[in-house]
Amino acid sequence: MRNSVKAALFAAAVSILAAGTARSETLLNVSYDPTREFYRDFNTAFAAKWQAEGHPPVAIRMSHGGSGAQARAVVDGLDADVVTLALAADIDAIARATGRIPADWQGMLPDNSCPYTSTIVFLVRKGNPKNIRDWDDLAREGVAVVTPNPKTSGGARWNFLAAWAYGEKKFGGDEAKVQDFVARIYRNAPVLDTGARGATTTFVQRGIGDVLVGWENEAYLALEQLGPDGFDIVTPSLSIKAEPPVALVPGNAGRKGTEEAARAYLDFLYAPAGQALAAKHYFRPSHPEDAAPEDLKRFARLDLVTVADFGGWAKAQPRFFGDGGVFDQIMKPGE
């Protein structure tokens, strides 16, 4: 018995080592949570195109998780060739901590390095029993709001800023009132998951909460995967243009000799095929003319602020999400 177990383990070990030595070119894309389905399609398309152009076959590996946690892993040595994270601040953090990404990375690709954008919408239970129409309703008593933790999740930071932008418009810039308004929303949150996908499963699978605040693409995907019978999407009157950027990690790709393929991979995101795939997976393409019209029709028109209205991530990140920042003040017990 033990011998056969040993033999099986040995065979497994040998096959793994063999697989390790016969490696073709491999790219590692470290991404955030809601891009899983998009990049699965996109990687297949890119690999086919790359090989058709006469290059050796390329295998693309994916790693998904909360954007902040993923950035942390790259800082700690996760060997990403490209990072496709939820917000620029996380890529800035990698650039600052490791120097493997140049500080001016965001100017290196078109559209602020954002080949696709998204926005923040609400997912509610079918028929909208709590009658949730806009951000005001999230601050109402008796409404349970599901949103991830802005400390670890990029999507959650977009959620927070969108709520803040609405508050600013409503209270005409009276910061104390805005902070109180956002605090009331967060007091309605029974759980703060670490990532956007975790929050979605909390709301959808475990049935917690009355409204999920999240990525538009994540909300549509939940509808697509789990059927339209359970949920409705509610678009608030004002939201934020969520810009998830992409960047090459020259410090890693250069060492591995994968820089050419990695660059081509990112460029392909801006190509018509990449844009169409993004739209198909409910991301708003930066070149809508390349996407299928029926995909574009699904995106509701709404007022969008951008992170630039907050002075960019360099200002917004420490102000709202840094240690002792606005979010920490809001979450302080007894407030």
Partner: protein, 310 residues
Amino acid sequence: MRRNVEPVASAAPLDRPAKSGLEARDPARRRWQAPTGERPAVRRLLIAAALAFLGFVLVLPLVLVFVEALKGGVGVYLAALADPDALAAIRLTLLVSAIAVPANLVFGLCAAWAIAKFDFVGKSFLITLIDLPFSVSPVVAGLVFVLIFGSQGALGPWLSDHGIDVVFAVPGIALATIFVTFPFVARELIPLMQEQGTGDEEAAISLGASGLQAFRLVTLPNVRWALLYGVLLCNARAMGEFGAVSVVSGHIRGVTDTMPLHVEILYNEYAFPAAFAVASLLALLALATLLLKSLLEWRHGGGLKPRRGH
């Protein structure tokens, strides 16, 4: 304990003619019970509570795993397991166990040998250290390895200069698994070897055996069943470890995802049948381990004792 009470109770009606003598003693004897026993009602209540709890917390979820896994039919189930990423996860899990279990086997034997057969300064400290992985949260264990071997860590820059990947690669996963499964073999062997003492070895050596011969021909056969038992437990935990491995894995699909991590990924991708298919494979491994363990206890119970529970 039941045997003490029941024969008397059931015998009482038959003895009716000889009332006088028995009646005087009977109530007293009926009320008598072992000092450590409980009344039948209490006993039944305790058993029912334990069973209900086990059923709810252990059996029900386990059954559910298999129900969910087979919901889409056997074809879907097998397809989920034949997926390249699932196969890679299974391979990685087996590989990591194949590294962690032998490492802990050698270490456990050395440590148990040292602790049971010699006296030295710091012995009780060593025993405490061996128990450390039981008390430290696996997440902390994983973070420690990131702090040591990560590229911001103490050894990270040197390692990456030499092209050695530890965290976010197989070595890191193996290290984290070894850390977490560290005590199993040693913990199984130490009490047994301590009780066996050094008499057998002394006899062997006085008859002319070398130290190695004494170990191979006397010590090892004495502990072989406990050793195998420890290895089984160690293996079960190595295959199932989530927390520590999650921290050092980097979650690269098809490369650094072990089976438990892959279950989480599939679940998060709404691929519920596939998630439960892989989970059911893990559950099967656990059940097989349990079966082997029970078999060992049944066949070689004497060779395993004394043993502390886990």
